[in-house]
Assembly symmetry: C4
Homo-oligomer: 270 residues x 4
């Protein structure tokens, strides 16, 4: 009985440290800082490790660091899985843990460490390394970044309707633009515009105004169509950015305005 | 007499299903879903059918699907034409039907199926396939999309004045820009800037900031003019996008604010 | 006496027709329409006349049309110069006319017809033709367009302060960006970045996001500097467009709101 | 005693002239104008001096002008250093002057003249010349520009939160984008995408929509990833510009609204 209570208390404590911190919890803050540093160093290791000369010289050290990181992340992953049952929503030990493990953030965490253990399988080594970058997304979960992540999520949610509408119109525009240019250019440049899906690459490069210059119309009809598509369509592809931008500023303003302060001590209230 | 009444009732019913649905009409909703799926599959068929390897392997199946689709679209087109007289505005059987058939959306529908029947004519086969993409525009007529289409139309209508003004200034800018660059570059690059219409291609590619890099000024004067044109003109070409974007967001906000709810059941009112 | 009065009346009438119309003045409206058509046709003639094959086939007709146009524009220019003294501000016959002739719009009009008379001088023929495009700017003076021109002028005037500030910051950015990239790339690409003025071409092409791809950094330092310049500077070059766009929409809204209607007939008042 | 008072008065006067002017101080205004002209001419000299043909012809004159400028800037720098002790915050002669000299603007001023004295050291001559451009930043200190500089600083400060958040999300996007494209393209184009840092150059060129065309994906997976990254990420990279733009306009509006006028003379108050 005594034992069980102790265990539950330990679980509660572990949960507080790795997942939901109470304000002023020192252990949790140290853990957060450590994880932040580890993630940043990990991402840096993946990036510089992709440079061949660095890999040749420091490959061994990077491998050691990777092993250490995966060990930490694995322990942390298991700790969370072990402790999650202290929350009422994941209370039932087996089913609760499974439901917890299937949350998107947990899956990302698993994907970020799993490749290390699968390395003996015949998978492309680079592919494995890319997955390590999922660790980057873990930053979103740290207490210091969770507010920002939540705000971004709110911004997207509040403009869902606009985004769905613009996305639909963008898809229709993309299909029509690439079909028309395919029709106009296919004969003159069969290697550049062999089919409509290839023409979509041109359409996206043009409508986002990136314009690499690897494909562009050369016939008079193609140029005329491309000019029309560019003038009419570019605005459309710039819409989502404008909508999210305005919403983003609005949301921050609302947050600033809504911050309440304690009438006694003047401190900002959550 | 009884017969005529029955016929009219059938017409009314067909009209409700294919064109204007009452809320909660199950047959109409099933029809909408079916048409939606058919249109999406049709567009997908046109896109993947343009890929040579797909055409070679699945050409026959795609052809069968096309025949089936055109059959459905033809029946649906005729059904609408037959049923439209139940509406007071198209009541007179011959003239009413003609006026109905000449509405833009009906013409687009006709264009989307007609090529199939004209295939034996000596027309470019790719050209025929492009017309099939007009079916995409039919999505705008489905009940689930008609509100969005109406909103987009309202946004354009409410900013008509701004768009006309900016379009005029854009055309003047385009003409001046391409004339100046033609004057500056024609001698140095007679193949790239042979005449003003060709210089317009450069001007649009530059003013929309696409910048493929197929044509660009090389003389000092040309570069100076191009730099000036770019700095001053690009903003102008970005204006319509900004104007429509702001109007678009405004319109959705207005719609959200203006949504009225029934005081008795709390349901949203149309 | 009688004669002088008649002359003054004629002057007044000519002035009304060619310059400031009273609403409902039919002759003035016909004149405006005629000038509009003539200007548009003139500009079209310059554009298509630059195409060599058109010039070869229709060169003679285009030349005839040009002669006719210049005749009309010359008569109109002289008519305005003759009639302007009916206005109190240009009342004194010689000095008033000179002051009228020195107004920017009059100088543009003169520049648009003068080249025709100077053709026997040893000037580049293309250069002469470009000047004919100044006729395009005359559209701004037609009654139907004068409101738009005035509105555009107001928009620029109301944001003068913002534009001056952003222009200053843009110039400083441009100088720093091109100097830094010159320093980084001059050695590696002495032909692409031979001096700072040449690097400015790169800077403008990059900061406006046109990105032709004729010049780009290849050294690591150059790429790092270019990336930093792009991320920080592009927003700056997009500012004027955003500022003018917002002001433009505001101005039109103000105009819509401010339109007064006659309480008796409901007609819109000027 | 008398001497010391005189010295202090001289210091005070020198300080007023070179640094903080009282309104209506003629000497200070003349000094400002002179410095403005000298800085602009200096920058122009650096720019045109980088052109080889100009350097060959006018190299000697430019060198003389540079020597003269450095002399003036040195005298002015020392004058400020000598006079700063008249301000209470830099009152203690040695420590106060040191603290004054370590202010960012003073360091920039030093960097702008120091290279001249270090020319005999084996440093790259071009590198030295670039530092001379720091003089450009001195414009920000002139009285006529200090308000603008302060406003820009305020705009950045008021949007600090937004900028930090978007910058974080931009960095995460940049890392993920370059890693994904590296994974997709490394095998097909090992020279263009040799490692993730190189892929970052592609990512920035794409996400800012510059699109030089020196690197672009060629594999189907790479094109698909690039299209997705472009459509989703470009808006993100346009956000800071939009945020700062809106804030900038707001700030100027606030300043216009907040300008107070003396109730007695109607003059604008500072």
């Amino acid at each position: 009985m005594e034992e069980a209570k102790k265990l539950q208390k330990a679980r509660q404590r572990v949960w507080e440290i790795v997942e939901a911190a109470k304000p002023g919890d020192k252990a949790s803050r140290v853990f957060d800082l450590f994880m932040f540093a580890l993630i940043v160093l990990n991402v840096a290791a993946v990036i510089v490790g992709s440079v061949k000369s660095v890999e040749a010289t420091y490959g061994h050290q990077l491998q050691l660091f990777e092993t250490f990181s995966v060990a930490v992340f694995t322990v942390e992953y298991l700790a969370r899985l072990w402790a999650c049952v202290c929350r009422p929503e994941f209370a039932r030990s087996a089913m609760g843990r499974l439901r917890f493990a299937l949350r998107p953030m947990q899956i990302i965490d698993l994907l970020a460490i799993l490749p290390f253990y699968l390395e003996f399988l015949p998978i492309d080594a680079r592919f494995v390394r890319i997955f390590r970058l999922f660790r980057l997304l873990r930053l979103a979960k740290l207490n210091r970044y969770s507010k920002t992540s939540q705000m971004l999520a709110r911004v997207f949610a509040s403009r869902k309707e606009e985004l769905v509408i613009t996305a639909s119109v963008m898809i229709v525009t993309l299909i029509l633009a690439s079909s028309f240019i395919y029709f106009a250019e296919n004969e003159a440049q069969p290697d550049k515009f062999p089919d409509i899906p290839s023409a979509m690459w041109w359409a996206i490069v043009t409508l986002t105004t990136v314009g690499y210059g690897d494909v562009y119309p050369v016939t008079t009809l193609g140029k005329f169509l491309a000019a029309t598509i560019a003038v009419l369509g570019i605005g459309l592809f710039a819409l989502p950015a404008g909508i999210l931008g305005a919403s983003f500023v609005e949301e921050i303003e609302r947050q600033k305005a809504g911050k309440q302060h304690c009438p006694h001590c003047g401190e900002e209230l959550e």
